[in-house]
C-alpha cells in the first residue's frame, strides 16, 4: 500500500500540474472521481482495466471510452487511458486521494473526515466547519461518516490532527485515569 501511495502521488502530481496550468484543477478532480465511480461500480470494467493479460492498448481504449461517455474532458480521458495502459488502474482511489490533497493545498483548504455516532444536522455541520476553519485558518470541507459503533459525539481528523469529541474518548480517558489510580 505504501508503494501504491508513492506511485499514486506521482501520477496525481503530474495530472494536477497539467490541470492547474489549464486553470481547472477542481473540475478535473470532479470528473476524475465520477469516472472512478463508474469503474468501481462495474465489476467487468474494473476487471478489464486491472488484468495484466489484457493488452495495454485495449485497456487504454476502454478507459478513455468510458471517460468520454461520462463526459470528462480530454485531459481526464488521456490521463485515465495512460493509467490503464500502465496497469495502474487499481491505484485510482489513491491517485484521487492524492489529487484531492494537492487541490486542497492549492486552494488553501483542508478536508475533515468526521466519524459521528448520529448524522449531523446542517446546522451542526456548518457550526463544526466554521469552528475548524477558525481554529486551523483554512477552509474546511467536511466528509461525514456515521459510525454506529461510536457511543456518542464525533471524532474529526484533519490531516494529522485528531479531535476526539466522542463519549468513547471520554470513557477511554476515564479508564486510563482509573487504571493509573
Amino acid at each position: 500500500m505504501r508503494s501504491h501511495e508513492g506511485t499514486a502521488r506521482r501520477y496525481a502530481k503530474a495530472l494536477f500540474e497539467l490541470a492547474r496550468d489549464a486553470g481547472e484543477p477542481e473540475a478535473v478532480g470532479r470528473e476524475l472521481e465520477q469516472v472512478a465511480a463508474v469503474y468501481a461500480g462495474d465489476a467487468r470494467t474494473h476487471e478489464v482495466l486491472t488484468r495484466p493479460w489484457i493488452k495495454p492498448e485495449d485497456r487504454r481504449a476502454v478507459a478513455a471510452a468510458i471517460a468520454q461517455k461520462v463526459g470528462a474532458r480530454k485531459l481526464v480521458q488521456d490521463f485515465l487511458g495512460l493509467v490503464a495502459d500502465r496497469g495502474r488502474a487499481d491505484h485510482l482511489p489513491e491517485i484521487i486521494g492524492a489529487y484531492r490533497l494537492l487541490v486542497d493545498a492549492e486552494l488553501g483548504r483542508a478536508r475533515a473526515q468526521v466519524r459521528t455516532a448520529v448524522a449531523f444536522t446542517d446546522g451542526e455541520k456548518q457550526q463544526l466547519a466554521t469552528r475548524l476553519e477558525r481554529a486551523l485558518g483554512k477552509r474546511i470541507i467536511l466528509e461525514e461518516q456515521v459510525d454506529a459503533t461510536l457511543l456518542g459525539g464525533f471524532v474529526a481528523q484533519v490531516g494529522s490532527l485528531i479531535l476526539d469529541g466522542s463519549l468513547d474518548g471520554q470513557l477511554a480517558r476515564m479508564r486510563q485515569r482509573l487504571a493509573r489510580g
Binding site: 469552528r131 475548524l132 481554529a135 456518542g152 464525533f154 479531535l163 477511554a172 485515569r177
Partner: protein, 188 residues
C-alpha cells in the same frame, strides 16, 4: 693359672727335698752351705715365679682392669649417649609438643575465622533473601494493585458504556455534539 701354681708347688717341694737328700735328714732348713743353694734355689724359684707366674698374673690383672675400665668407659659413654639421646628426644618431644600446640592454636584460630566468615556469609545471604523476598512481595503487591485498578477501570467503563448506550436519546446526542463542537475552539 692352675698350671703356673702347679709348677710353683713342684719347685717348692723339689728344692728342699734335694737339700735334705744331700744332708741325709735333719730339719726342714739347715743353716749350712746348703743355705746358699737354698737361697739360690729360692732366688731361682722367685725369678721363675716372677717370670712365669707373677708377671703374667699382673698382666692378666692389668688386662682385666683395662677391660673393666674400658667396659666402664663404654658404659659411661653409652649412658652419656643415652642421656644425650634422652635429652634430644625430650627436646624433640618438647618441640613437637610446642609445634602441636602451635598447629592446634592455628587450627583453632582458622576454625574461628572460618566460623566467623561462614556466619557473616550466612547473615548476608539471609539479609539478601529477606530483601529479595521483600522486593518480590512489594512488586507482587504493586502488580496486584495495578491489575485490580485495571479491572476496576474496565468494569466501570464497561458498565458506564452500557448505561450510556441504553439511556442516550436523540436530544442527548445533539447536546454531546454541541458540547464537542464548543470544545473545538480550544484547538487554536
Amino acid at each position: 693359672m692352675t698350671r703356673i701354681l702347679a709348677i710353683a708347688a713342684l719347685l717348692l717341694g723339689a728344692v728342699p727335698s734335694a737339700a735334705l737328700a744331700n744332708e741325709g735328714g735333719g730339719g726342714l732348713i739347715s743353716l749350712d752351705k746348703s743355705i746358699v743353694i737354698q737361697m739360690i734355689n729360692f732366688g731361682l724359684l722367685l725369678f721363675i715365679l716372677i717370670k712365669l707366674l707373677y708377671k703374667p698374673l699382673l698382666a692378666k690383672m692389668e688386662e682385666r682392669t683395662q677391660a673393666i675400665r674400658k667396659s666402664l668407659e663404654e658404659a659411661q659413654a653409652a649412658r652419656a649417649e643415652a642421656e644425650r639421646e634422652r635429652a634430644e628426644h625430650a627436646a624433640k618431644l618438647q618441640a613437637s609438643y610446642a609445634e602441636a600446640q602451635a598447629i592446634r592454636a592455628a587450627a583453632l584460630k582458622e576454625a574461628g575465622e572460618e566460623q566467623r566468615r561462614l556466619l557473616e556469609a550466612a547473615r548476608a545471604e539471609a539479609t539478601r533473601l529477606v530483601e529479595s523476598a521483600r522486593g518480590e512481595l512489594a512488586q507482587d503487591v504493586r502488580r496486584a494493585r495495578q491489575d485490580l485498578r485495571q479491572e476496576v477501570a474496565d468494569l466501570a467503563t464497561t458498565v458506564a458504556e452500557r448505561l450510556i448506550r441504553k439511556s442516550l436519546r436523540d436530544e442527548d446526542h445533539r447536546r454531546i455534539i454541541e458540547d464537542a463542537i464548543g470544545r473545538v475552539d480550544r484547538v487554536s
